[in-house]
Symmetry: D2
Subunit: 432 residues, 4 copies
């Protein structure tokens, strides 16, 4: 992750990407009211303002502070206020209370962003001594900010949803989706894969043309896979409703024990954001409330719901290695943040296995754990991934609110098995 950037990586290219990522983040907030920036309905979600500040804090703390001559923080309080979880940097303002920070104001945070953006660019252009190290950290920061772009939208969706007036984030959806509805849904098929040893993961910087990868994707290693089948596309809303209509939420035999307890405690009877009016199902999206399209992939389900659905179907979730082995055969195509669609779309079958990237994060049956030979990085950035390798489950593929350039076959996302506010969906697998 933090190895030196190769000479081939031109400084201009990095500056360009840095600029465009910073600008994209800000453009995502264009249509918000000031009041929308501070919502936090549960500790796991952060206010928009906090995301804006924290992504600047990251560049300030890990690049400007150690490398900028005569560094002065934009505001001394920010080190504490906008530290997410880096104990090596210092104490953190408690996450569940982020909504209580009316100050700094949105406008002050915008100034903070601007100031950091300028200072980083200036630093890159003027540095000689530590340039490679700085560029590597800038690339890390860019990837970090891309993650927060997705989180910003995901959290905002959850937070706006708490308001009974159900405010709409954008309205990019309706016109386009009308056309799309006419597309015919591809049939779900089982695609078979041979047993054998395969290569999993990606070494950090293992070649001239090496792409960025997080440390949790390393090292590249061998993994033996038994023969398996993978579903050709994601499970749809219509297919999930069949599960519901068959008593899916009421049959303990379909659920993991912890899932059953969670479902009862949290009183789940459908995916998050769904509600029924008469016989019609609707769901809340970033484009407002829309009638549920039966052919679109089911989204905002927990690992437990994904697992129960798979059990009901006589199938199972894929392991992350199975998913990656298949994904390596396919190019990176899908419905990404860049499309500004902000919602999953249906599968149109152009390839044997469809919807691998974009659309929705796909729950795997793999507990998030270190790969064989994984080493935690030294220092504060070592806290980026390694310390979370317990109790969470790996999701693969990226979603409709992930940047395309942020993703790859080896990318590992991870959330707790009860999480439903992420853009998460279901792909099935089966033993042969």
């Amino acid at each position: 992750m933090l190895d030196k950037v190769k000479p081939e990586t031109s400084i201009e290219a990095v500056v360009e990407q840095f600029h465009s990522v910073r600008a994209l983040t800000e453009s995502l907030c264009e249509h918000l009211d000031v009041e929308d920036y501070n919502l936090q309905a549960m500790p796991e979600t952060s206010p928009v303002k906090w995301h804006l500040a924290h992504t600047s804090w990251f560049f300030e703390t890990f690049i400007l502070k150690p490398f900028q001559t005569g560094f002065e923080p934009f505001d001394r309080d920010f080190e504490y206020l906008f530290n997410s979880y880096y104990n090596a940097v210092g104490a953190q303002f408690p996450r569940p209370r982020r909504h209580l920070l009316s100050r700094p104001t949105v406008s002050q945070v915008e100034q903070y962003r601007h100031s950091v953006t300028q200072a980083v660019i200036k630093l890159i252009k003027q540095s000689e001594q530590h340039l490679e190290q700085i560029l590597a950290l800038v690339i890390l920061g860019i990837n970090h900010e891309q993650q927060h772009q997705e989180l910003l939208l995901t959290d905002l969706k959850y937070n706006l949803f708490q308001n009974p007036v159900l405010p709409c984030y954008r309205n990019s959806h309706s016109s386009k989706s009308n056309t799309k509805q006419k597309t015919e849904l591809s049939k779900h098929q089982w695609v078979e894969f041979e047993p054998g040893l395969c290569q999993i993961g990606q070494d950090v910087g293992d070649g001239v043309d090496s792409k960025f990868a997080f440390d949790n994707e390393s090292p590249k290693h061998k993994h033996y896979l038994e023969a398996f089948q993978l579903g050709s596309r994601l499970v749809t809303n219509g297919e999930f409703i069949e599960f519901m209509d068959d008593g899916g939420y009421c049959r303990a035999d379909l659920w993991l024990s912890d899932g059953w307890v969670t479902k009862n405690e949290q009183d789940w009877s459908s995916p998050l954001y769904w509600f029924k009016d008469g016989d019609t199902w609707y769901h809340y999206t970033l484009n407002g409330v829309t009638k549920l399209c039966m052919d679109e992939p089911v989204s905002h389900v927990s690992f437990y719901e994904a697992d129960a659905h798979a059990t009901w179907k006589g199938a199972r979730l894929p392991t992350e290695q199975e998913w990656e082995r298949v994904a390596l055969e396919y190019s990176l195509e899908g419905n990404f943040l860049e499309a500004q669609h902000f919602a999953p779309s249906l599968s149109k079958r152009k390839r044997l296995v469809e919807q691998l990237y974009g659309e929705l994060w796909q729950w795997t049956s793999s507990s998030y754990s270190p790969y064989p030979g994984y080493q935690i990085l030294p220092g504060a950035v070592g806290e980026y991934n390694g310390k979370f390798m317990a109790n969470q489950y790996v999701l693969r593929g990226g979603s409709c609110v992930s940047s395309r350039e942020h993703l790859r076959a080896s990318y590992r996302n991870f959330f707790y098995p009860d999480a439903r506010w992420q853009f998460s969906g279901i792909r099935l697998a089966k033993n042969l």
Copy 2:
């Protein structure tokens, strides 16, 4: 409370008072940033924006809706969103989640306020048939809004305090207080009162010159008081520190059992808003952080702390009847909201018993309960007071953030015994 308004009450006077109370509420928000309007650090506090909307909802629901011809609500969602606790009106958006309402925006709520204000004035001026009933309700609404002016400031103080940068609400304090510090504190003395039957409470509308009173102050009734002594002024910060220095927060023998449990659970070791830097005590006020003035009355203590301090002093808290019996002998003078001082000030001894009104609400030992003969009003306004007559304790006298014209000797405020975010202080009493 809701009896007909006497002919002597001129319509103009009511309109004038209505106008000025609405304007005062809005002026209290003059210096706030938009981000400040939505803070809610605990369920018991409401966001500023919610207070602004709810006080309009009150007029809209109880006056415009029943009496305005062709009534149309400003927004149909508001009936649910801004109902505080009136079950007879309908369901309520859950109180702990008020901070999640980014919409309506501050600007929309300001429009709502303006619209309701205009409509009420128009209704008063044009009504003939129900005029007396309407005027009575307007007066109730005015008193209701005055209560919320105090709550708005009290809640805001608590909510801003959660931010480690400790934002300042106003800065009206510093210059004045410097001068004031030179005033000499009056000595605490025990003032004796004879035993005997006294009159407590105030009938609603019991004469031509009747002032408004809430239903919980009625009916006027006889109460027998044994001889007692009342402290001549409020307990000061300095006196409270003596209690602390004597182990006040560590001695179970001084505390009520529930108080001791609460103190331990909430980890109290000083009044709310206090903190120590080296040997110096500071506290957070609406005017920002200031050094604690030893001669000013101690504020933001719970009933339990007030009771423990009294026990330590070999004294007790007064009953609400003792307090009222004394207050009836004194005119309504003190440090009220109108002074825009936003903090208590020290006692300058001009009268035998000082600081009865304004400054700080004074905890009494009286559990909030119905007076003999009390009748709950019919309909939704009957929920105003009666249903809260359990488990709370009565406070008397008003505070530095209460309107002077809102107060009187018979006025009963009430909070749970663990509440500390109110402007609450301590007056002692003693048996003879």
Copy 3:
């Protein structure tokens, strides 16, 4: 409470009473299995074994320890294990965990009881110097043990009830009650009382013929009562079912705000111990499950339910002073522990106001607070009552599991308003 015992009180009489109270406690456990002694279904209830030990601890700690020459504790650990809440004595084993004490065993606790009983009697017989003080403490201990006899049964009823097999404590009930059912229920009538000053409370030791009283009943003092009406008997099961059938548990307008919240949180829809099979109501009693007798007084209701029922009836609960003023006119008759009936019985109208004593504790509208002039006793026994004078409500009259000789008109019992496991019932009052 702790004043010196008068010469008229013969030592023999005290020893005799001490003996018989200790024996009665033990006889209450006669039919229990060893397994029954350690149940604790909620922190508010204590295991039978703990009651047996704690009542011995009381005599050991407050009498043997200070007065017995060469005192050696029965077991050094017991000072900690069986201290209920006396901070002045020392730390306490946490109340919610009392069920975790398998050791000392029942048999060891029985030895402890025997040892303490013998030692106290020996001390009384041999003491000269501190005899009066010791006798006063023994009388306090006797009254303390009588309170725990009631608690032992009340707690045991609650704890056995958790077992789905619904074990029966005794079967003293069935035959007798069959006969009793034939008795006709007296009609509920309103008995009027004149306004005026009355005497409330009882001084501790205020005369030659003075009976024991707890400190919370003192001092005797004047209280002014407006005219009122008191219900001639307790509210019956049948009358309470009318309230239920009229939607009593579903109408927010009938409930105190805190009561409504509690009812919803705890999901109450009938008194504790009731259940319905088809159209028939049953309830669990210490004599096992029986069909609900409509004419017997309703029991095991909280203050909130009592208050809601009264509101529904257009009435209210009496104040404790109203109750006492009436009770002083009546002799101490009723259905007490001595009858070993262990359940309330119906009113047979022999007197104008019936069922004042025995049967069920009657909720009053009075918050438990110190009487004017009340002084907490010095030392550990001062923790007996005073520190609980907040947030609880006074109940009067005693129940079918109270000893007759433990009760009197001035006796004040107190529990939190949500408590339902006590033998608590409803008497109504009304303004004139």
Copy 4:
């Protein structure tokens, strides 16, 4: 697991084993007082009496009920009371409330055990038609009861420990341990293993000489292992104290994020059961309180503590596959329940890798999940293992309170990562 038992398995051998397992369970309770049978200090632990009844319920429900002609349950209530978590059987009495069942008494449960034992033996001896199926279920029940023997002791240790008098379960320890202390501790060494594909797991009934295995150990499958090193013995108390003395419990950088949160919430600063008196460490064992032996393996640590210790040591925990690959090379020797030592003992180095079996369960880094090709069994027994395959971590090897004959190299135990009351210890691993 439930495949048919081979002809080679003589009926007599099964009956013999059944008999001896049932008798062993009962012998573990020999020295208990009746009061000890019902303790439950946290929901995860069950009372001794419940274990005794539930293991009988298992035979009654899965064998007698379906196969015994004219089956009558011992007590109809038991189906509900002693069902642990089998939803397919029916509802379950809530686990956290098991301590509230004073009835059935210990004596009644002993009768229940006797009755079930006799009936099962009779059924085996008389059956012809379903004999193979019955025998397979008896063997499952035997293994189930062996698991509960360990749980009975593990839970009892935890529950007795809550009592400040720290009751001793047995005193088998002291004399022997004195001798043992003289043994010299073997040096901790890193033993290297080559990379390669290995066989993991055991098919259920895959041969004539097949030993029983649970379904979660199947199917046998290939797994690729990179080269690794395994610690030659378990981590000792002395080594763990080095970690503590180096601030192990205070350094966030050593802990998984969830572990750090848990440690803070539960206020851990040493393994469970440890306490310090002056400079000396003691711990509570089933043999009472003993001085901590520095050379004995550290026990009662959570996965989080095991992981933090490994990180501190520059090592990691082994995967379950690494552990199994090594264990397959060693015979089943160790300190098992049969030794009645009830506590771990020190490593005496007789083999290259020591303490693989017996002593303590060894945390692995493997999340408990289904093996490739795993199929949940149909019916209620399918709930035995599969539904728990989330959020738990695998432990391997067995402990000093496991039966020797219950264990094997492929055996998978599993607990939540915060569990400390199990006999769990630490073995280290390392990348090459």
